[in-house]
Symmetry: C2
Subunit: 473 residues, 2 copies
Amino acid sequence: MLTDFYQLTMTYGYWKKNIHNKEACFNVFFRERPFKSGYAVFCGLEYVIDFLKNLKFTDDDLKYLKKLKTGNNKKIFDDEFLKFLKSFKFKCDIDAVEEGRLVFPNEPIFRVKGPLYQCQLIESAIVNILNFQTLIATKACRMNVVSSGDPIFEFGLRRAQGIDGALAASRASYIGGCSSTSNVLAGKIFNIPVSGTHSHSWILSHDSEIEAFRSFSEVMPDNCILLVDTYDTLKGVEKAIEVGRELKKINKKLLGIRIDSGDLSYLSKKSRKLLDKNGFEDVKIIASNDIDEFILSSLKQQKSKVTVWGIGTRLVTAYDNPSLGLVYKLSAIKENKSWIKKIKLSEQKIKINNPGILQVHRYIHEGKYDGDMIVDELIKNPNSTMIHPHDSTKVKRFSKNIKHIKLLVRIFRNGKPVYKNPSILKIKKLLSSELDKIDNSIKRLHNPHLYKVGLEKKLYHEKNDMILNLRKL
Amino acid sequence: MLTDFYQLTMTYGYWKKNIHNKEACFNVFFRERPFKSGYAVFCGLEYVIDFLKNLKFTDDDLKYLKKLKTGNNKKIFDDEFLKFLKSFKFKCDIDAVEEGRLVFPNEPIFRVKGPLYQCQLIESAIVNILNFQTLIATKACRMNVVSSGDPIFEFGLRRAQGIDGALAASRASYIGGCSSTSNVLAGKIFNIPVSGTHSHSWILSHDSEIEAFRSFSEVMPDNCILLVDTYDTLKGVEKAIEVGRELKKINKKLLGIRIDSGDLSYLSKKSRKLLDKNGFEDVKIIASNDIDEFILSSLKQQKSKVTVWGIGTRLVTAYDNPSLGLVYKLSAIKENKSWIKKIKLSEQKIKINNPGILQVHRYIHEGKYDGDMIVDELIKNPNSTMIHPHDSTKVKRFSKNIKHIKLLVRIFRNGKPVYKNPSILKIKKLLSSELDKIDNSIKRLHNPHLYKVGLEKKLYHEKNDMILNLRKL
């Protein structure tokens, strides 16, 4: 039922016309680089698999659908159709990129093949899940690339877009490279380390700042990070040092101080000096306050002394680009046992989809990724040359001895899951090894070098011919 | 468990120090106008009530917390504390604005009074829910104010931030003035009308556009809206007219056409002419394609012939301002049976909270809202003058015969719900009557007139004194 209503009216139509079981192929892809990033991080597959495993219409759902009426008070769906929905059994084949892999515009990252109506019914949820998690994993990855080893704590729960907006964002952020989440439920569900110590209200609940610090160090001697900016940051640091000394006496350690406001460059440097002067060289400085990858990069350039970053709003809402714009397009449909390729025209060339049963070949040259070629599995003997999807003057030929991997792997066959979900740590590791395989210029924040993605030559020309033919030119 | 980890470490600390049952008061408010809007629409209360009704720690939760370790491998929580959590019973008093009411920066919109640790444990979820739903209801309201009567269909499911990001957005959008959602699950759960007909893939699944239209009109003769832009919009309209004629012959009606790409001003006018010329004056023109309130307003000014608007991404993600920045601040704490007022200092005056047990008096003059005065219930005989929170030169006095309502109403008492949730339709109606009570200049998209919100005079001066005192000036 997590679907757009038109999927149901179309399903009803297909069923009425008895074409619902025609086999179709749909591909998921995005057209534009989120955050103008040189890469994106595929994420959300495990959620989608869970969703598809549990797909069904309950009696309650059918009761709801039964009472839906048109504007002129006629039933929208007839009982026979509701019976058909009740007998729904998922039958599709799914192929997808593995979570943690780098992906790029225009290439299929998820493919559904199966009865036309089933492909439609699952569209909305699949796009919702992959759209959001891929977006956030990408954002997190960009931040972690810039922090270059400094841990980033995600604490976006309160500012996320809804409850699952928070949970899914915690998962995607961790995959994207963050070290922990503040969200306890996310920690529990996804097996992500949780972190956090105290807020300003802890300080305000005590008679003085020093008393609040001391009290916290007593109850959390092994996890003592003190928030120093409730009244005056640098005076707060001095008090934290005092408590740090007391901890030393009982063989415990002040782990860090946190600054949540003010000029993070200036305050972190001043704090570092104070701490070092007093023998607290290993106390970490944690900073937060509307940080994103650009501010983080600027603070790094200013040689701020922040060593751990706390990021919330701008990460979990992907503040400057809050939707990836993922689409799900029909690319082929079977008629009389043979596939008919499909494209939707548009005034904007970038909006025209690629036809066929698509797959991506990622070429690897001396351990580095050399380019992604979108191929149509229906085209025999594919060419070793690819052409830029929207610019026929950009051509790349792969020499024959270059190996490639296929990006889309088997996830479901005939409605049954055939893929073993890797652990979340394994996904993190995959991403980290992926990042090693692309040039640093692709990871730049501004004007990144663009990784090459093209259409296999025959596919390119076939698509071009289809467009001209449809336009009757 | 839907909470930030530091709420748990603080709760542990309060409990260890045996101050967890001290009574505290926290207020929820936002500081900056979302979308630079002249108003916001309070939304999310019903979700929060549901959350609070079901608050508890399961055995599974406690098992998870039990195994959490510090960096040096010590248990974070001791067993005694976990037992304490197991016995958790919600005890707070909650007062809140009713859903659908207009709210403004700085004023408390939700207030929690109760045991300190309970106030903290529920903070993150409350802020998450209210932050998002208030944001989206506000965005939807702005769009509906501009559409001035034209229905807006929300269809953001696929681009929303997660599953609940979609569901909660559908609810908030409907409250904000939208007519329907595409999300079937949201329709079912929240009792919102659902709408939708078919997508481009319906067209592509047939041999030709006209065949696809005809086929749809046959299966949905009472709900026939045709998407005309798969190949060429105006040719599509001509084919829709053909099918419209066929429907007329069997005493049915073509309800509308939908345009999802291209220049919506130009195409809607051309389409209108074609439709009218052929006797289809009452066929609606539905438009979609990354519309927000500014594009909608521009299309209205261009006298586009769109009569129904389909809005997705930019509504459900609040694209240009994806977080409201709601905060939850301690404002008073009870010591020896008397309330001690609390503020947190900050370099930025706007970030300093208001102290006390806050309430809002909304003054009504000749049926219109005349200003909101933030009062502290601890201050006896409040003044009838209010002062702008951040500008002492802006003063407003209410004459004695002006009535006011109290914005915060009773929701929970001693942990028990005492508020009856209104139906979603009643919430919509409340918003609509609220909009009638403010001047049109406040509803402007650009540079709206600012509705007056101030601190009751005694509260203002008390706060000022507290700041100076804390700064030792």
